[in-house]
């Protein structure tokens, strides 16, 4: 599954989201719970703002010295007998991984959750190669069984599905015979996947944070699937976005502490698994061969720009969980595996404005995202920057907006024209007035009045009022009529 998901047109994705009653209910309740747990956890920890400042400070330093830390990381992994491949593009990464698997003549691959492998569409390549790739995170397993339904949230990928739908998918595809109780569904998945873990030849994991000083990859999970994938198969391949790195274990502590609280309100997840190279020769379990694939795929071009802090993201989804727009349109409407505010910032940076010019507008700019971000990424300010770029540099605003702006430019550029137009406005709209407001506007007003009503232009213009205003505010009172 590549970065892009769902239909091509933003509008039809949004309409689909708005029309999906169950999904919207599920998102509302999930957002409520996740917000509560996050704020409870932050409050319980205390000094949350200090923690956020520390997180930001660490991420800034790391990003400014990214080449140094990636070099150190690769040296340390190699010292411990692991192989490191630096992949500039998605194709490079897929090609390398596919070659490793080919050499092993492996057919069964167990994967634990990894957004970057979704981004580079690794599964498609491996399946073409004849491999059986099993997603083992419960949410992703459900989506995979359901004919590769795309994820709609970066922490809870199957958020848009209800338990009855999941029961039916298990029944149809796997012969499941029990009820829709989450406990029974989960137990069934445990039994199915246990066999897969035991027979997989290669395990593929993501990487929450790599630790440069020791060549360690840390996985932050709850289900235990990432531990299975890094304990049982003989070969392990870990794929990381190049920015997912910390200098030392001391910073690992801080960022993990921020991540688990911001994501799900936990003090720590059930498992934080820190893996350094392959197993020692004398150890009885763990992979004999370890590969680390460091992926750029468009990230480096964000470095050194106004958007550099977007690379500070630790994928906690706190911004998604508070976003009022996500609440209504759901994850699929963003058309990207990265939804919500961070998706609206990151997706156009990774994949260009051409296909994603609408995303920066899928925001009310309320700033809730910026406020909860554990590493203080200025998310809503970035959305404004994107809008500016789209209009100024890329000239990609839509046609009616362009025409309207051109028209306004002409009007406002000429004192005489502006004068006439503003005087005429109350009369020009008269045919469209119903009950004192405009509910079906013509031309450029249509998009606005399709969803809400437009107030009438004042009979007295601001300029006239300003000219005739009297001291003491008498005239001002009249204006409210």
């Amino acid at each position: 599954m590549p970065l892009h998901v769902g239909e091509k047109a933003f509008k039809s994705r949004v309409e689909k989201g708005l029309g999906n009653e169950f999904m919207r209910g599920a998102v509302r309740s999930a957002q409520g719970r996740l917000q509560d747990s996050r704020s409870h956890a932050a409050e319980e920890l205390g000094d949350w703002e200090e923690w956020r400042n520390l997180g930001q400070e660490i991420r800034q330093h790391t990003m400014e010295n990214l080449d140094f830390y990636l070099q150190q990381l690769s040296e340390k992994v190699a010292e411990r007998g692991g192989h490191v491949y630096f992949a500039e593009t998605a194709d490079d990464a897929n090609h390398y991984i596919s070659e490793v698997i080919e050499k092993k003549k492996a057919r069964k691959i167990a994967k634990s959750k990894s957004m970057v492998t979704e981004e580079i569409a690794l599964n498609d390549i491996l399946e073409e190669q004849g491999c059986n790739v099993v997603e083992t995170d419960l949410g992703e397993y459900i989506l995979q069984i359901d004919d590769h339904d795309p994820p709609s949230h970066i922490v809870a990928p199957a958020l848009h599905k209800n338990k009855e739908q999941i029961r039916d998918v298990f029944k149809e595809k796997l012969g499941y015979l029990h009820t829709e109780k989450p406990e029974e569904l989960t137990l069934f998945a445990r039994e199915q996947l246990r066999k897969e873990f035991l027979s997989a030849e290669v395990g593929i994991t993501g990487c929450n944070f790599a630790v440069a000083e020791s060549g360690t990859c840390a996985l932050v999970t709850n289900e235990g699937n990432a531990r299975m994938v890094s304990t049982l198969p003989k070969t392990q391949i870990t794929v990381m976005g190049m920015e997912r790195i910390v200098p030392t274990w001391e910073e690992l502590d801080v960022l993990v502490s921020l991540l688990t609280r911001a994501a799900v309100g936990q003090k720590l997840t059930s498992y934080v698994t820190a893996l350094t190279g392959p197993k020692e020769e004398s150890e009885g379990d763990g992979p004999e061969e370890f590969h680390l694939v460091v992926v750029d795929n468009g990230r480096s071009k964000i470095l050194g720009t106004e958007f550099q802090e977007a690379l500070h993201c630790i994928r906690c989804a706190a911004c998604i969980n508070v976003c009022p727009v996500y609440r209504h349109i759901g994850g699929h409407a963003y058309g990207s595996i990265y939804p919500g505010p961070i998706g609206a910032v990151l997706t156009p940076l990774l994949a260009g404005y051409e296909d994603y010019k609408e995303l920066p507008y899928a925001s009310s700019l309320c700033g809730a995202c910026t406020e909860v971000c554990p590493v203080k990424i200025p998310l809503h300010e970035y959305l404004i920057d994107h809008r500016r770029n789209i209009v100024e540099k890329e000239n990609k605003s839509n046609l009616s907006e362009k025409l309207a702006m051109q028209g306004f430019h002409k009007l406002a550029g000429s004192a005489g024209l502006f004068n006439i137009a503003t005087k005429m406005a109350p009369f020009l709209v008269t045919p469209f007035v119903r009950d004192g407001t405009i509910s079906k506007g013509p031309g450029p007003l249509k998009a606005w009045t399709g969803a809400r009503e437009l107030p009438l232009p004042q009979k007295e213009r601001f300029r006239d009022w300003f000219k005739h205003r009297t001291k003491g505010g008498q005239h001002i009172a009249k204006r409210g009529d």
Binding site: G46, W51, N53, L54, L66, D67, F68, Y69, L70, Q71, S74, A78, E79, R80, V84, Y85, F86, E88, L138, I142, A156, P157, P182, T186, A189, E213, S214, T216, E223, G224, R227, M228, T231, L232, T248, W249, E250, D253, V254, V264, Q266, K267, L268, S270, Y271, V272, T273, A274, L275, T276, G277, E283, G284, D285, G286, F290, V294, S300, L303, G304
Partner: protein
Amino acid sequence: MQRGEIKNREAFLDKVAGQLGRNRRKDNVIRPKWKHQVQWKVLADLTENELVDVLEKQCEVIHTDFIRTTEKELDAKILQVLQAYGVKTALTSDDSRFSSFGLTNKYQDWKNSSDIDVFKWDIESPGQSRHLAEQADAGITFSDITLAESGTVVLFSSDGKGRSVSLLPSTYIAIIPKSSLVPRMSQAAREIHHQIESGGRISSCINFISGPSNSADIEMNLVVGVHGPIKAAYILVEDR
């Protein structure tokens, strides 16, 4: 161990440096002293006994049974837990603390009184050890470092301490020497950092385990017990 291969690094990192508008930094990057040091304030002033209370309380949150005991009664408490969970076969890691805490010579009694078989991770036959881990009802390990705040046991893998012992059986039991208790992850991370700085070789797998596995992937309902253990118990032993 043979050194691994590194591929495509130079061009990749040159590009990163270029984007940052400077030459490559290959050395001389010094990690700054962070302006904010807030992590060291958490639970900082608590006594050891207060940390035990924090741990006990957190165990409720993470669905983990918590038992306090003394060195003298440790074996009896472990037996009680095994019986309560209906365990018939248990696998322990190969850790000298099992004998120094006087447990290894109790296994025969457990077999006689309660028909419980206890096996040890066998360095000599890893295949059989893994198989035992799949079959056993419970895995038992000692905690190497214990984090009070999050209810976490930290396990350093080694020849005798296989990763599977705390992972494959459906019940996991951690024995926590009171002396292994620290406030939070910061202290454990610093210890590992110092080990690296002084040229030490860290374990290939360091697990931070906080209770049984769980998931909320179906309608955000918490289900305890997914791929890892379904039940977990911590037995805290006064060791000084």
